[in-house]
Amino acid sequence: MKVIEMIIKPFKLDEVKDALIEIGVQGMTVTEVKGFGRQKGHKETYRGTEYTIEFVPKVKVEVAVPDGLVPKVVETIARAAKTGTIGDGKIFVRDLQNVVRIRTGETGEQAL
């Protein structure tokens, strides 16, 4: 199993979610994060004091999927999250040793 973790633009969340549901993903977890990459931040000024804000608001989405589904999921995300402008974000694919569904106690792929 793998965890696919993506950092995307916040207003793309609903589109990505819908695209993933369509290909059979049954759960996901979303975190509000701030990111820093090629995309420049911006300045803020308060009574003459300027701050450079390098971090841009982003959304992190984590989906645990069986190995077989990985390519399809990655490709789906890459399509749904793309605007073609800087700051579109990244997809990270990471190993997942085991999963347990707390309600039923199921483990492994059944628990996804």
Binding site: D14, T45, Y46
Partner: protein
């Protein structure tokens, strides 16, 4: 959100209406006259309001103007209350309803309107609106920079308070009116264009309209239209201007697909509370005296707000199964809007009907907006345009000379003509506000552009227009 549910609300409301009307006639008959009987003291007979007394009602012997400390205290207090309606009231009522990234821009727009008009009114606005009449259309420039507007009363407008007190009370009205429009174009207007638009709108739309309705010599006032505290001048004008804005600006990016729920509803409810409290200054202060008429206006203001909030919540309960806090706040404001023109002319039981009508009609208007598809972001038109129109017409239904002998009777009190007069005033205001606003917007759009870029809109106006963040 089926159409059939909408019908249910409409039917329900007609039903409730009918139910209330039956006993109503009886109750109305009992309504105690709150305003002065003919034999009352001279001071109180002075038409309490710059507004729109039927010409014949002007009493013959006016006492020489002298400042009354009680009246002055009430008008100063009212002026402070009406400023509190805009800053911070309306600012946070609107500010809580937008998304987090636009919170400051929305709040700032109201704040800046108070600043711009605060100077504009003193320099030329008051003179255009209330200065010596020119052709029943506009005030002259005689009072530029408040020249001649001093500490002595001006008996034309308020015989017992300093002229400047009347001026500053009216200033607060001139402030809130353009501020109300900002709800329509929230979350997408360039700040520089906003400043220019407000100055133009105040000078070209508000000042003339205030003159027509309230100034000695204004044509709507001469017509005999009743507008105690600004149903046409304030609410129809701003609401209809809002409609024009919504149409010219088009929708916000992501409208209909992204979630655009209010970012901070407690802020909105506080704002609604301040609007409610401040509205006592708005309506009861419009008596420009501290007397029975002011008291009556105070009472019906509260009653209409309460009834309208309840009506909106009931409509929601029927239509989508739950009453909401935003609904209660919106309903109260709708009721306050609707009672505004009527507040010096109707009794407490009438004010319940006016409130119920406002709650239901504005709710329907707001729901319909989603069907019709224009993006009046914070419902400037849905609440102020629709509520103001209902209120101005309802004044023609429910007005009673038993309440204010300087007013007129409405349709339900045997004078159908008044309803016709009100309809003319409504129509005139609609046309003037809509066409005028449309033209101003087009001119500003062509010269400097109205709308922020897509990137700026997505990043939020706080960041793109002000380099600030509301929270951190």
């Amino acid at each position: 959100m089926t159409v059939s549910r909408l019908y249910r609300v409409a039917i329900l409301s007609v039903f409730v209406w009918a139910l209330l009307f039956a006993p109503a006639s009886g109750l109305w008959a009992q309504e105690a006259p709150v305003a002065v009987p003919p034999a009352a003291s001279a001071q109180e007979v002075v038409p309490a309001q710059p507004v729109v007394a039927a010409p014949a009602a002007t009493p013959a012997p006016v006492p020489p103007p002298k400042v009354d400390t009680g009246d002055t205290a009430w008008v100063l207090t009212s002026s402070a209350l009406v400023l509190a309606m805009t800053v911070p009231g309306l600012a946070i009522f609107y500010g809580g309803m937008v998304r987090r990234k636009n919170a400051l821009n929305t709040i700032l727009q109201c704040f800046v309107v108070a600043c711009l008009i605060g100077v504009q009114w003193v320099l030329w606005g008051y003179s255009l609106a209330f200065g010596p009449d020119k052709a029943h259309l506009i005030g002259g420039l005689e009072w530029l920079g408040l020249n001649g507007v001093g500490g002595d009363p001006n008996a034309d407008y308020a015989a017992t308070i300093p002229h400047q007190a009347f001026m500053v009370f009216q200033l607060m009205f001139a402030v809130i009116t353009p501020a109300l429009i900002t709800g329509a174009f929230a979350e997408r207007m360039k700040f520089s264009a906003f400043v220019v638009f407000i100055l133009l709108w105040a000078t070209l739309i508000y000042d003339p309209l205030a003159h027509w309705v309230w100034a000695v010599g204004g044509w709507m006032r001469n017509l005999g239209a009743l507008d105690f505290a600004g149903g046409t001048v304030v609410h129809i004008s701003s609401g209809v201007a809002g409609l024009a804005c919504a149409l010219v600006f088009g929708k916000r990016l992501g409208y209909g697909t992204e979630r655009m729920s209010p970012h901070n509803l407690p802020l909105t409810v506080i704002g609604a509370g301040l609007l409610w409290v401040g509205w006592f200054g708005f309506n009861a202060g419009s008596a420009v005296a501290s007397n029975a008429l002011a008291t009556s206006a105070f009472v019906v203001t509260n009653t209409a707000a309460a009834a309208a909030a309840l009506a909106w919540m009931v409509a929601e309960w029927v239509y989508h199964g739950r009453p909401t806090a935003l609904g209660a706040a919106s309903g109260a404001v709708a009721g306050l809007v609707a009672i505004t023109p009527a507040s010096g002319f109707v009794g407490p039981v009438s004010s319940i009907w006016i409130g119920v009508g406002a709650g239901v009609l504005c709710y329907i208007a707001v729901v319909m907006k989603n069907r019709l598809g224009y993006d009046d972001a914070l419902d400037a038109f849905g609440i102020h345009g629709v509520g103001g129109t209902w209120g101005a017409l309802a004044t023609g239904l429910f007005a009673s000379k038993a309440v204010n002998s300087a007013g007129a009777d409405g349709l339900f009190f045997g004078n159908p003509a008044q309803f016709g007069i009100q309809a003319v005033a409504v129509l005139g205001s609609w046309i003037f506000a809509f066409v005028g606003t449309y033209l101003i917007l087009k001119v500003v759009d062509m010269t400097m552009g109205l709308r922020v870029t897509d990137d700026e809109e997505r990043a939020g106006l706080d960041q793109s227009q002000h380099n600030e963040a509301a929270y951190s």
